[in-house]
Amino acid sequence: MVRTMKRQSGVARVTLVLAAMMLLCGQAMAQAVRAPEGNNLPEPEMPDQMNAPAHGHSHAHRLADDHDHAAHALTPEQVGAFADRVDLSRFRRLAIFDAGRAKVLDTMAREHLSKIYGKARWKDPITDRKYDPVFTFLDMQFNQTYYIDKPVIHVEVLPFRRQMVEAVVAAEQQEKWLKIGRLAPLMFTDPRMQQIIDDSEADLLLSKARNQVLQAWFAFRDDLSDMKLVSPPAGGDHWTRLAEDPRGDSAIVRTGMVPGGGGTETIERVRAEFTRLAHAWHDADADTVNAAMNAIADLLPQVNPQSYPPSWLREAEYLYNATHKFTIGYVVYFVATIALLIAFGVSRLWLIRTGVTLLIIGFVVHSVGFAIRGIISGRWPIHNQFESFMALSWFAVMVGVILMIAKKQWLFGAAAAALGTCSLVIANTVDIPSNEVAQVAGILATSRILYIHVNMVIASYALIALAFFVSLFYLGVYYFQSRSTVQFAAAGLGVVTEGSDAKLPGPQAMLRDLDRAQMIVLQLAFWLLGTGILLGAYWADHAWGRWWAWDPKETWALITWIIYLIVIHVRIVSKAPALNTAWLSVVGFFVMLWTHWGVNLLLAGLHSYA
């Protein structure tokens, strides 16, 4: 990535200028009605154009041949109607090789749109309609000029965005564009914009912002004919472009129009279908578009069927995308949590059974998501922040379910459900770094010890999180020893009274059982964390030549472990060991969160990828 960005920064200005001029030309052609006199380029009237009633639909794509651009201008409403009639169901499941792995077009489109727009679904500012990522991806390929005056290019960092907006937007429009957070590609044609991008190269504070904008810009300019859609022949691992001569590595034929070159008859047919698709897209002819897309979806897997990803795998990846990486399982977890909490409050077994059933369903959904991630990435998915977070919560729920069933203590289930809800809601709503499936750094890909080290540490964090919820139970019962509290805790511990006080144990018995429950989890967490840290040290010595470097992540993992070491020793000398354990468990949970998240985000170190 770094090398890519360096390359981009070097050619950024030239490419920006050229690309911007190309876009301008496209726009000029598209807006033949209001084109200026002579050879002058149209003035960039960015903010007003956003609300302009008529928009060019020039189809200045690079896969189709020359066409009458101006004659087919569509309104945003017509684009919406066209989108409704396009059937992307098969086309989105096509395989494409990108960023070191084969993925489905649906994934590629989502990643692409996220890179350009900051979100996977583009929202038309005129109609307020959100579009399917694959539709927008293709529309940007075949109909790019439609987007050049729309807020498309995400400028994430506010000071950088402000600089740009103040440079090219009229004062009364600036606030609006600042809020949108996206700028129109046309704005990038302004020399002042290029100057801002140039000036930011040497500014460390803005260089990240600049890289993000350049990435968005280059993604917007990406060309479908540059994308690798043809799977390798038997025994090979080199995917090729449609416009690439399979006989030579670098004989890329790009006339800018219909791709040509060598290849099998099937590839030639695919090319022809792509041309048909481009023309039909240009004409908003949904029937032909659908026919061409289905033909391509039929033909491409036939080129080298032995190396083409199987349909079940592509289906699984699409399902993974469609379900927000299966994080929608939080709904089931949430209902399970509520059911269990109500069940504890009213002490009804049927409600507990309902909650437990929902919890297990949620866990199955969670597990399927975790497994598909593993299958798609081709590895046990624990290599980055998103994966370790999902693995942590999955492991915590699994342990909670096992303990719940083994001990018949439903509070483990409630804790697991609550933890599952929180983690999947976060995974669903927060943009956790590295949430897309990608290849990992070599140092992580070539070690077996890493798997054991990371898994043990993640498992210990999971148990710490589980213990936190159990300790909250303990503290609740300890401080609020009313009948309802005791009944609540008793149900959690498996003593379901069904409304009768006869079987209700006393608060002290409850507290003793809850203490046992928290210690079961904490002891295991303590051992796993200690072993995980020492395995990490072993790995560090093996891989880097130093077993302990006081790297912030190492230090904070040790601090987390020491918290629980203190727990063990405090229990020996304290007069209220269980209460102190519960409080230290709460403290330990927050220290663990800092170790897992805060250290990565705020402190630089060797574990920044973890």
Binding site: P191, H238, S447, D541, G545, W550, W556
Partner: protein
Amino acid sequence: MSAKYERIKQRDLLLPAPLRWLTRAFSSITLAVCLLSIIVLFGTVASVPVAYLVTGLMYAVAMVVCVGSAVVLGYRLWRKHPDWTALKRTVLPLLLVAMGVVLAVLGWQWAAGFAASHEWFARHRATVIYRLPMFEMTELEFYSWWPMKLVLALFVLNMVWATIRRIEFKFVNIGVLTVHVGIVTIAVGSIFYGKFKVEGDMLLWRQDLGGDAVDVFYDGTTPAIYFTAGHRNLMVDLPELPRYNDYSVEPDAPGPKLSIPLHEKPRFADVLGGKLRATIPGFIAYGELSTIWEDAAKHGAEPGFHANPAIVIAMGEENDPLYSTRQTLISSIPGDRAVDHPAWALEYLVAPSDERVRDLLAPFDGEHGLVVEIPAANFRQVYAIAPGQTITAGDTGYTITVESIGPYGMSFVTRGYENATDTRAIVQVNDGKRTFRRMAMHRYPERSQDFVPAPDDPTAGPMGRRTAPSLDIKLTYLDASKPQFRVISPTLDAADKVLQLLVRLPGHEPFGGEISEGKFPIGQTGNQQVWLHIVEQMTHANRVLKPIPTAKDQRKPKDEGTYIHSLVPIDLEIDLPDQAVPWRRRIWLAHMRYPNPEYASGFNSPRTINIPTIGQVTIAFSRQRHRLPFGLTLTDFQMIPYPGSTIPRDYSSTVDIKQPDGQTVVGVTRLNNPLVYHGMKLSQTGWDPGNTRSPDNDARNEAGRYINQQRYTILGVGNNVGIRIIFIGSCMVVAGIPWAFYIKPLLLRRRKRQIQSELGLSGKKD
């Protein structure tokens, strides 16, 4: 409390009071908890930047004071009034807690505002405590600092003493005993490890590209200065050199000061003689050496110094020239006398010829103009031109066809014009007898060239054979496609003289005048007018080497403290026999990762200086060198990508290891598979991606090996003294914990059941 400890405590009563207190203190678990808490605090302070520590503390205080006290009060209210109605008993405490939360949020807002309004917080966002001037330690040094060592020593002592006095040495307790012995073992191993650990790295070039055997590596932390005088070499280790903060060389400057006398170091006098004094008077932790232009006149120009007029410009608002970095335009250097902005261009001219001024003032319509002069016919005419246009030069017989207009395409490489850029018009000239091409330049008309058709000349380019421009016809191209500003100094003596401004705007006639107050508007950004300010005028611009510290917020956190951007000044001084005043020089050295001259790059190079009575001395600033007991030659290196991609997955370095007895063995090191030889571990840590922008980056030689990438490898080198002891201790800890947690309770329960069954009691209740 164990029975053993009860017995020992009884015996303690026989000891004198101070000894009794001491032994009880070190048997105390409370002391262990306190020491562990101190370790936690130390780790927190050592790993979190000071700005975050302070803001975090403010947030925590607000939280504890507001929310904590509200919760405690609310809870007490709830407990003390069981007679209240359920609603009242619930709502009032909740209200209190809500108030506490609101107050805490307000407190956080205040804390955030306070942090935002004080520059200290922004400056220390990445400053960990050990980076402050009073510490100047590496992370490892700080954790090995005596307070931490003392706490760890006390903890180990406490643990050993408490273990001996409190824990029964029985089979059932083998778990906790193993864990404690394991921790002591790790501590002992760490002492050895810390004392004898050496680590660094080495760079190996591929043998087929000329790489030799290397038997040295360079330390990961300790810097060093290298002196070479003739055949004598000296490496001066500098463990005392700071690494995070700047130390000004100016005696009157505020801030910490530094003075490291190198001549007092061992062997210095042996190598460089006893008379030379070398001192490091300051340090720049993060900066760069840069050649800048200074007005020699202000610093007392030496007699005979040639005039070299220059101006310093900056852009900004009308009354604020701080919009951009300043730039010096040197009239005598073509590449340095102009600024080519995408929207405008500016050129600084000194005493231009009347002819040039006349050309620059020549009016024409449009964006491109051509001045045509035919001296023999006394013909001069200015034309507006466009590609494809043909001009007939009166009745001189010349016709000129414009082929193309545009940028020259690349920076000039001609000596004296390096890095200069220009635009040009390519025209075809026909004088009635022959036709040739002329490339007429805009800013540098003296660089115009002719291209004569030469179909039989294989050295000729596609435009023809390049020749000096024919004197029969003079063509001057004038580019008005964007605003052209020219700041003109009428005479060589630029200082104190009023400058002239000549402006040509697209589609307008040129105009000019004096630059009043040293500024003029040059363009528009948004609604704001941008002004160009002449910040300084120099008569004798003189190029000097200056250290430029990098602004704090522009320093990459991961590079700080690594020396890779650091600069060291060395003051050299020697008494000369026939001089009253000693000979003095100050040189600035930029850090080199490896001190070998072949790895020099730009200013990151050794400096050679001629010292009276000693001769030429080469000095380099790099890292401490360690010798290996064997030599390594890189015979092959491969980057192994993920299938079908260029994303690296692994790296493989194959080396020949040459032992002192002359025998050679082959070894391979890969990621996660280091090569261990003679107690030294060689890990794969770096490689050569080449120039990824270059189209030749993938070029290979006949043997199919890359020649512009993967040329070298960087291997991490380190010993591992004591690592086995640490490993054994770790295994004991890992094995002991489950015994203590799971097997011991099992054994105890079984024993209890045994006793109960022996006593005839039911074993159902534990």
